[in-house]
Symmetry: C2
Subunit: 257 residues, 2 copies
DNA sequence: TCAAAAGTGTTTGGTCTACACCCATGC
DNA sequence: GCATGGGTGTAGACCAAACACTTTTGA
């Protein structure tokens, strides 16, 4: 029945020993493929249940380092700036309870018990460019893939909520954190950038106004004209002017109301 | 040596048994006394070390409920809307390690060990009106008092950082959450409100412009003239128009740049 | 020459800022 | 009446939304 060797089980138990109990981390990573926002999801063993990448915190590492390690192990995505978007811990919240309890999986009782505990999770989000395609599942996970954020409502447990909370944080930090550097490739056009904004904000943006406003900030540096074979005027290629871009970001709080 | 009865020690151990290990909650509560922002701090036993109120999460309660309970137990402040502002957990982070280790305290080794563990903490903040003065220390705490946020740099451990992170969150959420209802008394004047904004934003605000903008939102309802014996024109009394106020709050994200 | 998409400009109205000025009160 | 702080108005700069017009390309 059991599909795990005793060695594997021991390594799982050993992992539990070395990590903080009842506390986990989940990483929501956004990618923009030119049309929609996507996030990587992982599949645990043979189950057809998809999860936001997540894991546990070693006793001797900070939570931020843990988040980076977990992401690297499970998706092979490395070197990201991660931002916290919230911590979730209703009394009923657990991780992988249903999966491990499934008799078909053949887990021993101690591991089922461990995963059936109530767990609090810390949510981080980040961003990768669209050229970032080298997803590769790490240990304990069978498969990783990108899915559109619009299609994340079927993820396991409260993971759909994690995605939408992460998206809210992404939206509100779009102007105050250097996110464009991560989202966009080295060179890009203004219409491409506009599509990114529309995807993040979830609403259309006026073409002319978008162009004017973004050019006024001087964060774009013209480097030529793209040569495409579309039946239309070829857009101008730009790259980010890092110095001006970082200057344009601001935590300044307006009075607003 | 020991200043604790065996009964007390047992109740502490029992509390540990029922809570999530290595995870704590801290609550930064802001009050505005008309001039400055203040937060309550608690003193643990006989030590002259002041802490942001904090505690642990029972296995059968959500983290939000835990935060409210902890706040009530330690300060007798009740019925607040709390907002999360971040979770902190560097590898070296602990709670009360120094205090419990102090031989003068006479704690048994098992309790010292428990408090010497690495702890992750979830930070919540909230707001009370200035009439909220009924601070009263709960169990395990000797004393509670209000201190100005400007004077929180001497708090224990990383608690000064918690205060400044909470203040940042407060600032950026001033326009999107119904914070005024909590900060201000039933009736108040515009100059009083302006002082609150200046305290939160940490900078002066133009009198005339502040007045115009806040009146344009229609969130204030005139109810008369205050009768003060100051040697100047008496300000107009207002109260919040709850319906318009809630409407005026918005998560709308501007394009900005 | 036409459609399609990119690039540009203009109009209108709002908002932000920095003030100047007036008003009600106690001394 | 005068100092003090509250209440009000306004000019100029700046910003935003809507939309019309022009340009460049492939077919």
């Amino acid at each position: 029945m059991t599909q795990f060797t005793e060695e594997t089980l021991e390594s799982i138990r050993n992992h539990f020993q070395r990590t903080i109990p009842q506390l986990s981390i989940n990483c929501v990573i956004f990618r923009f493929d030119g049309e929609t926002l996507q996030v990587p999801v992982v599949r645990f063993l043979d189950e057809d249940v998809w999860n936001i990448p997540g894991g546990f915190i070693y006793q001797d590492e900070g939570i931020y380092e843990a988040a980076k390690r977990i992401l690297l192990e499970q998706t092979r995505i490395d070197n990201l700036m991660l931002s916290q978007f919230g911590t979730f811990g209703s009394a009923e919240r657990s991780v992988a309870k249903d999966i491990t309890r499934n008799p078909k999986m053949g887990f021993p009782q101690d591991i089922i018990d461990h995963f059936s505990q109530r767990f609090v999770t810390i949510g981080y989000y980040s961003i990768v460019g669209k050229e970032q395609r080298k997803l590769k599942a790490g240990p304990f996970f069978k498969e990783v893939k990108w899915v559109n954020v619009a299609e994340t409502e079927h993820l396991a447990m409260d993971h759909p909520q994690l995605v939408s909370e992460a998206l809210l944080a992404l939206r509100s930090e779009l102007q105050s954190r250097p996110l464009l550097s991560s989202f966009m490739p080295e060179t890009f056009t203004i219409p491409e950038l506009q599509k990114l904004y529309e995807a993040i904000l979830g609403r259309p943006v006026d073409r002319g106004n978008f162009r004017q406003r973004i050019l006024k900030t001087k964060i774009l540096e013209k480097i030529g004209t793209s040569k495409q074979k579309t039946g239309s005027r070829p857009p101008i290629l730009y790259k980010l002017d890092q110095k001006n871009y970082l200057n344009s970001l601001s935590d300044d709080v307006k009075l607003g109301f």
